[in-house]
């Protein structure tokens, strides 16, 4: 069991949990958190390198490092693991954000409990990304969701009880749909007569889900994951949740957990039920297309920094789901890149907001101004994050958005020219408009918060970033810039994943 490298993505957090339990003081806790997340980061980078090597020789199988250990035989539940380019990208993203999140919560109250829950959460996240067994996947998904309640409820700010409750309940509501969908998939996972399975690779290979069932199960799973992906109209947990969550939790939640939604939509809903995805995509296209502009418009008038970014996340994550539904390679590649990009830059945003909030004790942009003069380092980082968010070339947002637009425009035009309606085309154009609206709200915040005269003279005494804050933000900026400068590396990594079988049904 321990010969498979992937299992260590779960083992390391578990060991961290045990060690955190033994820690006596805050230094030990920090040491454990940083060492553990560094180990995870190292592991994921090693995995990336190793994966690229293996891919040279094996470009056929949809996943590598596959392995399966029986867990509960009567129901065919296994701990089945395997990764492809997308999972590796997500693993790297998660470990980067865990690392930077640990730095960002350097001075948290009750560090031991906080890190325990945080690491438990990331156990779920890593487990989710390495699993290919639907049941295990779902289990890890739940493991990732539940600590969120405590993290927000205990360490949060503002209306934290309300937000924590709302977030948890809405996500659990989504999981209820999801579970229904997954069980449905399980019962149709194999052709008549052969044993059922939870393993999604086998399910995809069997392709035994009847079309009538797909039409029922696809919305279940898509909505189930879509709630976590902040799909309109199930996004309202996100503004409140993010606004109340402590910094690291906001980072991890917006940066990684919301990606679970997009990843799940892709991996489960679309990968297993391409027929229904093709048939029903228009409903969700409308919803996600609305998300994209709707979130952006809402962000334009909000005055709370975290709300602005939460709505911005709604918009950007909407773009992820939107692109996935375009059902072509380019747009899907763009979707995954957008997941990476959004994960990093939104984590950066939330880290910065947390740091600013920690100093000024307000998140209202009407109560602040001229931060560039007081906190130059944080402000510059904020400008960079903003630029990444509004899609400046050279940073990650641009490449992801452009890939999405090119891909979805292609899908839209193909539909339009084939006489299959202009829905995709119209919504692609609508989604394109978001780049302007994004510029509006980002520049509004930047102009009000960072530039201009100092609003509150009490703020003049604030000190700029400490070393751990610098480390945390700089790491994220480097990652954002890396994707922005060398997009083809990531794009190739992701694209190798789209084995033709995904598109077999679609005839693309």
């Amino acid at each position: 069991m321990f010969s498979n490298i992937l299992i260590y993505f779960v083992v390391i957090p578990v060991v961290m949990l045990a060690l955190l339990g033994l820690c006596r003081d805050v230094k030990q806790i920090r040491a454990v958190a940083v060492t553990g997340s560094l180990a995870l980061l190292g592991l994921s980078i090693y995995l990336l390198v190793d994966y690229l090597g293996l891919r040279q020789t094996d470009s056929v199988s949809p996943m590598l490092y596959t392995d399966s250990w029986t867990w509960f035989a009567p129901l065919h539940i296994n701990l089945a693991v395997g990764v492809d380019g997308i999972s590796i990208a997500m693993l790297i993203l998660s470990s980067v954000i865990l690392l930077t999140g640990s730095f960002a919560s350097w001075k948290i109250d009750q560090p031991k409990e906080f890190f325990l829950w945080l690491v438990l959460l990331s156990t779920g996240v890593f487990g989710f990304f390495i699993s290919v067994d639907l049941f295990t996947m779902f289990m890890f998904y739940e493991v990732a969701l539940i600590p969120m309640y405590l993290l927000i409820g205990v360490w949060g700010s503002g209306r934290k009880n309300y937000s924590a409750m709302k977030l948890t309940l809405m996500l659990m509501g989504g999981s209820a749909f999801l579970m229904l969908g997954l069980i449905g998939i399980y019962y149709h996972s194999s052709p008549e007569g052969s044993p059922l399975t939870w393993n999604l690779l086998e399910i995809a290979k069997n392709d035994a889900i009847p079309h009538s069932w797909q039409q029922f199960l696809f919305p279940m799973t898509f909505v189930g994951f879509g709630v976590l992906g902040a799909m309109f109209p199930f996004h309202t947990w996100s503004p409140d949740g993010h606004a109340s969550a402590p910094t690291a939790v906001s980072m991890l939640h917006a940066g990684v957990l919301m990606k679970l939604g997009g990843y799940g939509c892709f991996r489960v809903a679309i990968y297993l039920m391409p027929y229904a995805a093709h048939e029903l995509s228009y409903i969700f296209l409308v919803l996600t297309g609305i998300s994209v502009v709707y979130g952006a418009f809402c962000a334009c008038v909000k005055t709370d920094l975290k709300y602005i970014n939460a709505y911005s996340s709604v918009s950007h994550c909407g773009l992820v789901l939107f692109a996935i539904l375009m059902l072509n390679t380019t747009a899907m590649t763009g979707a995954i890149m957008q997941m990476l990009s959004h994960g990093l830059m939104t984590a950066l945003f939330f880290a910065l907001i947390g740091m600013i909030y920690g100093r000024t004790h307000t998140r209202e942009i009407t109560q602040m101004g001229g931060m560039m003069q007081i906190l130059p380092y944080l402000s510059v980082c904020y400008v960079i994050a903003g630029m990444a968010s509004l899609g400046l070339p050279g940073l990650s947002g641009f490449v992801a958005e452009m890939t999405i637009f090119v891909g979805s425009f292609k899908a839209g035009m193909a539909d339009y020219l084939a006489g299959a309606g202009s829905l995709r085309l119209v919504f692609t154009l609508v989604a394109c408009c978001s780049i302007v609206i994004t510029a509006v709200y980002i520049l509004r915040v930047v102009g009000k918060l960072l530039f201009g005269p100092v609003y509150d003279d009490h703020h003049r005494t604030l000190t700029d970033a400490t070393w751990w804050e610098r480390l945390s933000t700089a790491t994220l900026i480097v990652c954002v810039a890396a994707i922005g400068f060398f997009p083809n590396f990531f794009s190739d990594l992701i694209k190798t994943t789209f084995s033709p079988e995904i598109f077999r049904v679609l005839g693309i």
Partner: protein, 669 residues
Amino acid sequence: MDVTIPILILSIPMFMFVFLGLLGMKMTHKLAGVLGCLGMGTVLLLSYYTAYVYFFSGAPEFVNAAGERLQYLVFDQTWLQFTDKLTIKIGFLLDPISAMMLVVISTISFMVHLYSMGYMRDHHGVYEHGFQRFYAFLSLFSFSMLGLVVAPNIFQMYIFWELVGASSYLLIGFYYIKPSAVSASKKAFIVTRFADLGFLIGILVLSYYTGTFNFTELTSVPVEGIAGVTQIDLGTAEGVRGIFANSAAPMFMGASVLTWALVLIFMGGMGKSAMLPLHIWLPDAMEGPTPVSALIHAATMVVAGVYLVARLFPLYLMEESALVIITVVGAITAFYAAVVACTQIDIKRVLAFSTISQIAFMMVSLGVARPEIHEGLGYMASMFHLFTHAMFKALLFLGAGALIHAIGSNDYTAMHGLRKYMPWTHITFLIGCLAIAGIIPFSGFFSKDEILSSCMGYDWVAYIWMSLVAGLTAFYMFRLYYLIFWWKEHKIPEGHHAPHDQPWTMTLPLVFLAAVSCVAGFIPFGNLVSWNGHPYDFMEHFDWSVATVSLIVALLGIGLATVMYRKENSLPEKFRNAMPALWTWAYHRFYWDELYMFITHRIIFGCVCRPLAWFDRHIIDGTMDSFAAITNKMSDVIKPLQSGQIQMYVWYYLVGALALGGITVLCLL
């Protein structure tokens, strides 16, 4: 050609940006400035060398046997692959216009780098706060602009297009403490972003049909024998035309898809080049430091739109309707901006509107260019005017900067009669004014004359219209000139010493640019730049009747300005009172800003964003909350059942059981 030099041209400014951006604060102001200038100086030399090699070496990859200039792809590196066909590449395309632009950009940029060494410090020689940052941003801008002009494909152009937008944003907002600068930078970015949306959609449409981003494939045919070399030709354009003619849905809302694509791409150009509906950002952009205005908002970035149209010119030739749109937009903008420029009192705004007007000239020139009219003279004239305009407008802006630096105000009412105090500035500014007014032998005369000639060849209405604008140009420029340097004696406010000329770092660029403006008209531009690379002597198309008329018009404008503004008098006042409505409207720039404010704040923010936010909080969120509320209510309703009264429990149980039993008895037994 060796790839080292092109790579260096792009990477030195990039490196300077990162270097100064990260380490600038650790070094002294002067060191940062000197490093910036050195870097840019190197780029200048390399660009000159490249342009020289391209134009004059006569190597077979640059010029073919017939003497036609070719497009040469120095390198082309895959950057992001979308599909098998669509790939963004980062490359370096050398052809007449990109070589010319390399020269323009590196020259102006270097001049501005040098000039800023003097400008960005006060009278006591203390450098401004953020001086290093200023140089870092200048380097970023230079990098982006160079990358834009050498782009071999439209997506690279779009990438650098965005980058120049961002660096323009950063530089306009350089004085970020000033709220007006912040809002101006925001406005500039958002307006151009809006235009870029059209550009992007245009790219998407174009690339969907043609399956390529490359300019060469869109406009040229490869030359046999040498890799990476192409010849601009209508022939491939025929191929592209075939694609559009045979595509499944060539029409969309009454226009062909190609027209749509080209108009949308032109929309991007309209944004960057401040054409009429999207021009509002440029006057406000003058909030930035004056060298920035000279570099970005006069000479280089704002002509990107013209450059874009010129790049895709063979495609535009396929759709005359798109060219007509360009002509009309350009003509209206030119006139509008000239009228507005006549009434402004902020000298930088006058120059800004003058820039808008002059760029519109270039646009019109492109719009009226046809291969059959004087061998496509309009194209050449447009590029020529781009070149000369860059020089003399940068000169004017730098001169204005010198004045502002000396006086400390943008308002000419604070200036008046400065000619005695600042002779160098006076002379160079005068040269700039003469050049822009189109007085022989200054450079503006030649380029403007070519534009008017090609207008003449296209349509006499366009010719008359543009001549009128040229007359207005001469008028408002000399109005400005007289109001600054003549009008009445300069009053020195108490406690101030007399304004004086500037240090050599500022004078040198002025003198250099003035010299260029004097002689640039004699460059045989037609030999260097033409729409298909075929060289010709533009003096063949030089029409003395046109030249005479335009000269007379210019002199008329100057004469009128002399009469009205040379000495303090009441003529302008009378003039203004004669048509107060026109004057007020022109003074308020025909209320475009107010219109946009209305649309953005009232319509977009007030009628879209706020209702949406309200909808989100109250309807969507309210629905979710009401689920919770309903659950709570339900629990409140059934909670009393758990009253703790055991007798009630028994009662409920019993009645329930009996009901079940009764039903069983009645129905089943």
